[in-house]
Assembly symmetry: D2
Amino acid sequence: MRIAVVGASGFTGAEMLRLIAGHPQLELSGLFGASSAGDPLAQHYPGLDRKNRHQLQATSAEAVAQVADWAVLGLPHGSSARLAAELLELGVGVVDLSASFRLPAALYTEHYGDHPCPELMGSAVYGLPELHRQKLPGARLIAGPGCFPTGVTLACAPFLQAGLIAEGLLIADCKTGVTGAGAKLASGSQFCRVADTIMPYKVEGHRHTPEIAHNLSALAKSPLKVRFTPHLLPIRRGILSTCYLPLAAGVGAKDLRLALHEFCDDEPFLHALPSGLQPNLARVAGTNEVEIQVVCDEQTGLAVITSAIDNLCKGSSGGALQALNIALGFDEGAGLSGLSATLP
Amino acid sequence: MRIAVVGASGFTGAEMLRLIAGHPQLELSGLFGASSAGDPLAQHYPGLDRKNRHQLQATSAEAVAQVADWAVLGLPHGSSARLAAELLELGVGVVDLSASFRLPAALYTEHYGDHPCPELMGSAVYGLPELHRQKLPGARLIAGPGCFPTGVTLACAPFLQAGLIAEGLLIADCKTGVTGAGAKLASGSQFCRVADTIMPYKVEGHRHTPEIAHNLSALAKSPLKVRFTPHLLPIRRGILSTCYLPLAAGVGAKDLRLALHEFCDDEPFLHALPSGLQPNLARVAGTNEVEIQVVCDEQTGLAVITSAIDNLCKGSSGGALQALNIALGFDEGAGLSGLSATLP
Amino acid sequence: MRIAVVGASGFTGAEMLRLIAGHPQLELSGLFGASSAGDPLAQHYPGLDRKNRHQLQATSAEAVAQVADWAVLGLPHGSSARLAAELLELGVGVVDLSASFRLPAALYTEHYGDHPCPELMGSAVYGLPELHRQKLPGARLIAGPGCFPTGVTLACAPFLQAGLIAEGLLIADCKTGVTGAGAKLASGSQFCRVADTIMPYKVEGHRHTPEIAHNLSALAKSPLKVRFTPHLLPIRRGILSTCYLPLAAGVGAKDLRLALHEFCDDEPFLHALPSGLQPNLARVAGTNEVEIQVVCDEQTGLAVITSAIDNLCKGSSGGALQALNIALGFDEGAGLSGLSATLP
Amino acid sequence: MRIAVVGASGFTGAEMLRLIAGHPQLELSGLFGASSAGDPLAQHYPGLDRKNRHQLQATSAEAVAQVADWAVLGLPHGSSARLAAELLELGVGVVDLSASFRLPAALYTEHYGDHPCPELMGSAVYGLPELHRQKLPGARLIAGPGCFPTGVTLACAPFLQAGLIAEGLLIADCKTGVTGAGAKLASGSQFCRVADTIMPYKVEGHRHTPEIAHNLSALAKSPLKVRFTPHLLPIRRGILSTCYLPLAAGVGAKDLRLALHEFCDDEPFLHALPSGLQPNLARVAGTNEVEIQVVCDEQTGLAVITSAIDNLCKGSSGGALQALNIALGFDEGAGLSGLSATLP
């Protein structure tokens, strides 16, 4: 299967290149960029192309269609949607890593503005296999979930699905590594702004909030309100989500643990941690794994759920590749078996 | 005023030494340790004694009383209380940095076990000037507040005091630097355990929870439940507290901002940040300052309050020194005027 | 091929487990420890055994020989040598990651004391394929090179071998990540000792100096003196070596670059970087790659050579696995093809 | 004494503001910027102006002269020299933190190009009190030394001055924190470029080399060649210099130690560390202190000298303030007495 990466100089594009290099059935057949067109890949990521064999080409649907059966788009949501439409027209399958196809049309318009090709929105499959595995085989347009929504949705789904949560409010206090801000030169990503602190940001409102609410309300008995607060960590990769959910009457620690295992134990990338062990970003760095823990706080009637993912891998390119594997009928974990080299 | 530091090889003791060195009216007249007795201070903290003039002595109430008018105790809560009793008996004023005198007797016993000198508990003044300034002048036994309780209490007090918060539940999601774990050799403080992640810990329950609840319930119209989750950051100093409180009916952003300014603007160390600027641990590192911000989340009916302190300074030795300054009739900010050298 | 790891709770042992998990021809058939015997592997490294299938057994030559054809020893040099002798006797091939078999007998005794089985020293092959590839096929006892010697030897070898270096002195100023200090609880590995600085250590003398001198003197026209200064970095993995070598008369930048390419270009893991690009530890983290750069300083008559390796991978378990692959007739890069997940 | 800071939005300007705030005899009477003119200081450094009292004005010699007796210039070397000339003309004393007045005219031209006011170069005093204290009283133009030259010169001076060093070559392998790169938005200062590695840079040649050579050749019996290699550390502040100097015949460890103490012991900011203790950047962060250690490597005939400074403080604004104190007849350490808050 020939695959092209568009936006190959960005962080999610680069992560996809890393994963494709270890995938037994995917052949990288083209790299595309905009301002980086013409550059050798090694100029941007020397470690991803040690033999200096790859060059970025200028992006056009025709150029991509000429070389690839599928394309991964690591682009801003506007241009991503337009290109996706053209590629599908030309018979190229699309994995879109932007927000273009993650939300229902009305919700998208409310938070991101007009959509360039609303007619396509219904045909996209939301690429979170743990909730939508059955819709993926044969999909031609896969919407890669947002990084925070991946971490929070997978943390909370086990308990909502099992009916253990009362009506009300989810508070998701999330902490992300700096790669989440992308490769663009930005004042907020300067070392001296990031080091020695943890920075709350977009506390007034973050666009991932409706995506989280949409995912989880579908599992809850009634619409769930979501308070989501992201913080920037002085580390490279990873999202730790600390989630607070109100327990339904009579629910105890045992119920929570059972629900967690029920949800996780047959999933290839979900890990219900043993009691007493908390999720660890170093342990999932560079992997597609998700670590989840739950604590029952009886005094306050809350489930305190924590999850750890790698924002670039399971939270973006890895999760999308897992979905693509299913869409193509490959082994779900193909190209995603590496262990974290961050630990020890 | 002659002052001695007991437990001078620990982190809070060392921080007190740093602050005393810059205090115009305090004279360091003795350093005491247990396992470190006999050591030069420079062996533990070369930067705190470049001329190698100080040596730690073995701790006894008599030895302390011989050299000092006041003593700062940086000890575990058990031994701290016993020594405090003896020192007061000998006429030495005591600043206790442990948990020994922070809680009402019943609450203490519930969470820490039997108290060695319960008769003293009522005479201690809780050293949080922003709430108890009027009780401090003339105090002989000052209980230094816990680090997390300092950060969370000062974040939430403005809004509880102003009556803007509904009955219910405080969720305090706190992130602390590694100095919070103390100077003791511990597996959880090894670099390779701490780096590249943020580690939730004591999620099942942390002893600072009742101290927070006690502080804030006194300000609320009714007892406040508290869910407190600490996380360990891969940085040295600082506590960022992200607090979620339910708004009383009809309360809006303007009310919150007014209450914040009312509470902070006359306080020497509290800073109500301008809208859009979030608290920053680097900016308060090494200082006694407290940065606070509030955001009104109308969708969920929550006040999202964030505060930043230095856990060793305002969260421990600095806050205690501020209280001591008041007790002794000194300028409240004496020895506490340094600006953060972490920024830029 | 059945392989056992002895010392599986240490950092080099754990790294070998990570690599074996991705190796197509090696089957992990046993894990052994001393104080950790009886523990599940997941207790020490949850990320290395998510299904909780492995348990550490008490170490004995017999127990190892029962389950394995080859054993990797991640042990202190004393006990390592004794076990190696017993294992070889029982027909088990040995990859030794300690210093036991790296040096000629006389040099070993001078720096490490008496050797428990000196008769074996001559039969060990020094596992640095780039210099000793032809001796590895069929080897039964492989001595994994030291981490610093790997980085410095590979940096300097190209220029010594090409005869471009004058008699004299190598200065190797090396910077290592904290995993180099091992998994043992140690005051020098505490976060608050390591963070926010770079710490020179063992400046008076480090045992890797004779290994470096021995490696390089064999390539030089005459014995090379070596000044080696290690520094501890506040990062997890990697060794950056900055090496200063005196140029032979008439040698210029072009000669250096030619020699570098000649040495590296046919090697699977060596990378002569293009001019202007310096080696980067993040780029080699978790990989077996070696990045090398050279600058000709005509003003001072020095070659300034820099190299980057991952101390746990190419500098220990990865380099040893590369050597084992050759010894066993496998593809040299088997199990070593992963790209760094640290970048971006 | 009224003092103005020009270039107050840069890192060295900001550091000078921090130090002036704690200086008993200096009154900050003006802040000037270029692109930042009109901004409140608190917009750039909220922690330096918590009461929001300062605003940056547009820079002109007249505007500065109107409010200040002395000006500190934290500007690029070109514009700095021009402004210095105008200010001196208007009777304003100048502390210049750029390279404009650090070098003899010929050397300056060789490395920085034409000088805008060469006639002034001779009248500047190089602000390194440890070598030029006697020239400072009454000075009107002080050239603040470069950060690397400060660290390396103070490390090597004791031994060159004592005649313990053979003719030949200094190798200075230096490691600096990221604040050394300045406040400007730059790709090389992005967190994901700096973290998890140590980056050699300008290995082909760095402009601080001639300044180091000039300083030290004046102390040596004959011109000293200098090989200087800077590396970028993933920390905020500090320069660790590891220096290698050839010993003169017959020189031993005792001679080196004697010379070190002779040079340091009467200096207010120099600290000859006891044997076995290496310099530590955390211990000098935010201070004007210099820690120096020396090891005698008899095998190679080298003195291995290490020094630690804070690049922004002693290496720039602090060292310059020390010089200014002398020039003005103040106590040399005025405003420079703070201890490091980085430790513990």
